[in-house]
């Protein structure tokens, strides 16, 4: 299916934020915004749904905590009982203070690493992946807003975008969705 998008380039994140709000209030659909750095509040302005990454982080943390408890209970209590701090109780609960740091660290370790991997997978970022950003300047100092222009009045949209402070506007015909 043939589709048409407009690429509008900005050089300042504050101008971009105002432009995003303006374009959305005029009921145009913003497909994507490419920025050289994370712009605070942009997700809210674009109306993106809230991230579910926090839920996965909680689950990974629970996994890490379980791994820590099971591992230390096996190593320190069952397999080779240890006399911890001169208190030979050989009980996991009575030696709990000694285990708390490891429980905490593994919880953080699992949550952090698995969350990063999840984030990369979900953002379709893996090794040897071809870059998707349409303009290399978005990796330097430009901000690019991709607005859907299919079945829309292109001239009207172009003048709206130039009013919002875009420094460059390009109309692009896409034959098919190639990403």
């Amino acid at each position: 299916m043939a589709s048409k998008v407009i690429h509008a380039l900005y050089i300042d994140d504050d101008i971009l934020m105002d432009a995003v709000k303006k374009v959305r209030s005029e009921h145009y659909h913003i497909e994507e915004v490419y920025t050289p750095f994370p712009v605070h509040g942009l997700d809210k302005a674009m109306g993106l749904p809230h991230t579910r990454l926090a839920i996965t982080a909680f689950m990974y943390g629970c996994v890490g905590l379980t791994v820590a408890i099971t591992m230390m209970n096996f190593i320190m209590i069952e397999d080779w009982p240890q006399d911890i701090g001169g208190k030979p109780s050989f009980s996991y609960l009575e030696n709990l203070p000694a285990f708390v740091p490891i429980m905490f660290e593994l919880t953080v370790f699992f949550a952090a690493h698995l969350m990063v991997i999840t984030f990369y997978m979900r953002s379709k970022l893996w090794p040897f992946k071809e870059a998707e950003n349409p303009d290399v300047r978005t990796t330097d100092d430009h901000f690019l807003m991709e607005v859907d222009a299919t079945n829309k009045n292109v001239d009207e949209l172009t003048s709206l975008l130039s009013d919002t402070g875009a420094v460059e506007i390009k109309v692009i015909d896409k034959e098919e969705d190639n990403h």
Partner: protein, 443 residues
């Protein structure tokens, strides 16, 4: 401009009067002799209940060990209890005086950090912080008087102040170079003098900056004095915590004690800023404070609560692990005689704020922040209680008329001084160069 309502003024004065009367009653109720202690304990046991049972058990214990010796042996226990009960109103007074003082001190440190970091979000809250630090003057003077009385052994709060005790104690003798009455008072004067001097000039510069329309001359002075103060503060705060709290147990020491007390006073101070901000907003003042400011304060409450727990655990775990008698006795006393306040404090200062303030959206719901804030403040009162009481009152502790009255007295004074100070200047520090950024702060 804020005007102090008559209701609030009356409320704080009533609190002070009730607290003062209760405290006088608490001092008057102190037993004067061993005979009175015996009567009190007999009357107390007759009531039965949980407390009565434990006392009955310890009485029986005393009789078993000393019963066959002469009558004086049996009285040793009662004499011990007598000293503890005589200490009790003093210790209650000390805990409350220190608690409200440390709130103001925590706010002062937070205020200085805002300047030194050139924070852009917080200048709309500066006048509230300045008002809370006004309590440092009366609170500091009262604390200094109590410290001077204790340091010169008018009461028995500090055992190292008793020459009789020092004469028989090799460990304290080794520390006399630091722990002596004269040095104690001189150091207290230096700490308080330094903090109050910074407070005086910081507030003065902030007011002057309001009128200064041409440049940031006074702001720059505030920046410099704040940076210098923070260096002074972190050394003196650490030494203050050794002197004013750790020396209750002169045999025991912990190298991170200064940080631990700092975390406690810092989180209490930030919580108080949040509570007073929400109160003023509910009265229709501070229309330039939005819920992102509350959100940021709540984030600090959450974060510093966890920081406090980290330090508490670091101190506890190492001492528990190594199990060295002269160190571990500190925690054994607290776990055996203070089980409820000791573990209750962990629930109030860690688990409750962790669960309530974890969610990002809850941090901007006022009543959530107020609820968490009240629990945190009570929790840190219990924290100070746990640090002071075991060495002064021992197992004879209970929350009685002295403790409640002392809190009411200083709460009344705190509210009176802080809200009167709020009326002294416009609620917006309009001259601050970051004030526009702060007004538009949005998370």
């Amino acid at each position: 401009m804020y005007t102090l309502s008559n209701r609030l003024r009356l409320f704080s004065i009533v609190l002070m009067v009730v607290g003062l009367i209760g405290l006088i009653a608490g001092f008057a109720q102190r037993p004067g002799s061993i005979q009175e202690v015996k009567e009190m304990m007999a009357a107390h046991d007759a009531h039965g209940g949980g407390h009565g049972d434990t006392h009955a058990v310890s009485d029986g214990h005393a009789k078993n060990t000393h019963g066959e010796e002469d009558a004086h042996g049996g009285d040793a226990h009662y004499e011990h209890v007598l000293h503890q009960l005589q200490n009790k109103p003093w210790a209650a007074l000390y805990v409350a005086a220190f608690f409200f003082f440390m709130i103001a001190l925590g706010v002062l440190a937070f205020y200085a950090i805002q300047f030194a970091a050139q924070a852009g979000w917080s200048p709309v809250l500066f006048r509230i912080m300045e008002a809370i630090t006004a309590y440092l003057v009366p609170g500091g003077i009262i604390l200094f008087v109590i410290l001077a009385l204790s340091g010169f052994h008018v009461n028995h709060l500090f055992v190292w102040a008793d020459p009789e005790v020092v004469a028989h104690d090799k460990l304290i003798q080794g520390k006399v170079g630091w722990l002596n009455s004269t040095g104690f008072i001189i150091r207290a004067a230096i700490f308080l003098g330094g903090w109050l001097t910074y407070r005086h000039f910081a507030v003065k510069f902030s007011r002057k900056q309001d009128e200064d329309t041409t440049g940031n001359k006074w702001y720059k002075k505030s920046f410099k004095i704040s940076a210098a103060f923070l260096v002074f503060f972190i050394y003196t705060e650490s030494m203050m915590s050794w002197d004013w709290i750790m020396s209750f147990d002169p045999h025991w020491f912990s190298t991170l004690f200064g940080w631990y007390v700092f975390a406690s006073l810092f989180v209490s101070g930030i919580t108080t800023i949040a509570l007073i901000t929400i109160y003023l907003k509910s009265k229709g003042y501070l229309d330039f404070v939005n819920n992102s400011h509350i959100h940021d304060l709540a984030k600090f409450m959450f974060g510093i609560s966890i920081f406090w727990t980290y330090l508490w655990f670091s101190q506890f775990m190492l001492i528990w692990y190594s199990n060295i008698p002269e160190e571990v006795t500190y925690f054994i006393t607290r776990i055996e005689d203070y089980k409820l306040p000791f573990f209750g404090m962990l629930v109030m200062n860690f688990i409750f704020p962790l669960l309530v303030l974890m969610n990002s959206d809850f941090k901007r719901v006022n009543w959530f922040v107020v609820m968490a804030g009240i629990v945190i403040l009570c929790g840190h009162y219990v924290d100070v209680f746990n640090m002071v009481m075991p060495a002064t009152v021992g197992e004879s502790w209970f929350i009685g008329i002295s403790e409640i009255s002392a809190v009411l007295l200083f709460l009344g004074l705190f509210l009176f001084v802080v809200f009167r100070a709020l009326t002294k200047a416009p609620l917006l520090a309009k001259g601050n160069p970051y004030i526009e950024e702060s007004k538009h702060f949005h998370y």
